[in-house]
């Protein structure tokens, strides 16, 4: 098993989730917008969490936001992650009005604060997969 595999890449994704990952590979952020109530969905979902409608349209959103909450992980789930610990995980309140979860790179864990402005960046972990992460907005 490669180190990349030890970092839990997605498996057996249903087709309707693929646009999210295709966008990340192109270094863009795309989420579903509910056709009925306009709510954004993340992670990809078959039904809207607010109005339970199925129909949705993939929509590109800007990458900016601020940290809503975070943790610094000292005890990681696998050796591959542990090699990078301590690392910052944040729930980011995106300017588009939805929260997204990702690592925050290029920051001293001691410097992370709720409210800190961050922007999306993209971790190309293989030719097939790119993960969403964040970095401080400069």
């Amino acid at each position: 098993m490669s180190e990349t595999d030890e970092k839990f890449l997605p498996e057996d994704l249903p087709n309707w989730q693929i646009p999210y990952w295709d966008a990340l590979r192109d270094h863009r952020l795309a989420v579903q917008r509910c056709n009925e109530c306009g709510s954004l969905r993340n992670v990809p979902k078959e039904l809207c969490a607010h109005c339970h409608s199925a129909g949705a349209t993939w929509t590109e959103i800007p990458g900016g936001g601020e940290i809503y909450t975070y943790t610094v992980v000292h005890r990681a789930p696998t050796p591959a992650y542990q090699a990078e610990a301590p690392y910052v995980l944040a729930h980011v309140a995106m300017d588009a009005g939805i929260r997204m979860i990702g690592r925050v790179r290029d920051i001293d864990p001691e410097e992370v604060r709720i409210g800190l402005r961050v922007k999306a960046s993209y971790d190309d972990v293989s030719s097939l997969w790119t993960l969403l992460q964040f970095e401080p907005e400069t």
Partner: protein
């Protein structure tokens, strides 16, 4: 896809604890109060996993190693082997074999979301409130009637969420509620008196131990852990990262 970023179950709750601290000023020392109170109960239970390790102090918890900031080792339940069982029978049969029959006077469930992103706030959890309201409504009782509680405590912060969601204190005041031994036997709401998942056992369907302890308390058979005159118990379990909740009110039937 939830774990692709290196999240763990501890980190799932750590972000909730962090937000609660931000919104309400909850402190690591207040989280530690939960672990300290429950360890005391565990020292009084011969079957507890961690009771033999002795009492904890707040400083012990604050000095334990960081797992996912702000949760430290002693804010987290261990994982161990074990098992428990209950016997379900009629009230008449229980009485005939000399056991006060303890039953559910009310129960309720609440399910609010799947992804944490779907909740407006990550420091208050409506699923727990819905479950508790339903249970109390069915029982025809209020929080003031409760003598002893069992609240799922995978992590210290969970107990604070559980207290606030039910309204044992105001939302945001859970940290103050647990201070100075608020959850201890003899405290304002004795909770997880066997030590809970944190210090009694976190094996398998560990809610069984919480249920057993409440039954022992309500039968006045909890020995040195006995809450004097305990008549009604509140049981609460949570699933996921506060997404799913179950509550029940126990008493003699």
């Amino acid at each position: 896809m939830v774990h692709i970023n290196g999240t763990t179950r501890v980190s799932d709750y750590a972000v909730l604890a962090r937000r609660h601290m931000h919104d309400y000023g909850t402190t690591p020392a207040q989280l530690a109060e939960v672990a300290v109170a429950q360890r005391h109960g565990a020292t009084l239970h011969p079957l507890s996993v961690n009771g033999s390790r002795g009492e904890l102090s707040i400083d012990d918890v604050l000095a334990s190693r960081m797992i996912a900031d702000p949760l430290r080792l002693l804010d987290c339940c261990p994982i161990n082997q074990g098992g428990g069982a209950i016997v379900v029978t009629s009230a008449e049969h229980a009485r005939s074999v000399g056991n006060p029959p303890i039953g559910f006077l009310g129960y309720g469930e609440g399910h609010s979301h799947i992804d944490p992103n779907a909740l407006p706030s990550l420091s208050y959890f409506p699923a727990a409130s819905i479950a508790a309201e339903t249970a109390f409504g069915m029982a025809g009782l209020t929080s003031e009637d409760i003598d002893v509680a069992g609240i799922g405590d995978h992590f210290t912060i969970n107990v604070i969420f559980g207290l606030e969601a039910r309204g044992f204190c105001e939302v945001g005041e859970g940290g103050q509620f647990v201070e100075r031994g608020g959850l201890s036997i003899g405290g304002r709401l004795p909770t997880n008196t066997n030590g809970g998942y944190l210090s009694f056992s976190h094996a398998g369907r560990m809610g069984i131990y919480t249920l057993i302890e409440l039954v022992e308390q309500l039968r006045n058979r909890a020995g040195p852990r006995q809450v004097a005159g305990a008549k009604y118990g509140y049981l609460n379990g949570t699933g996921g990262a506060m997404q799913n909740n179950f509550s029940a009110i126990l008493g003699e039937v």
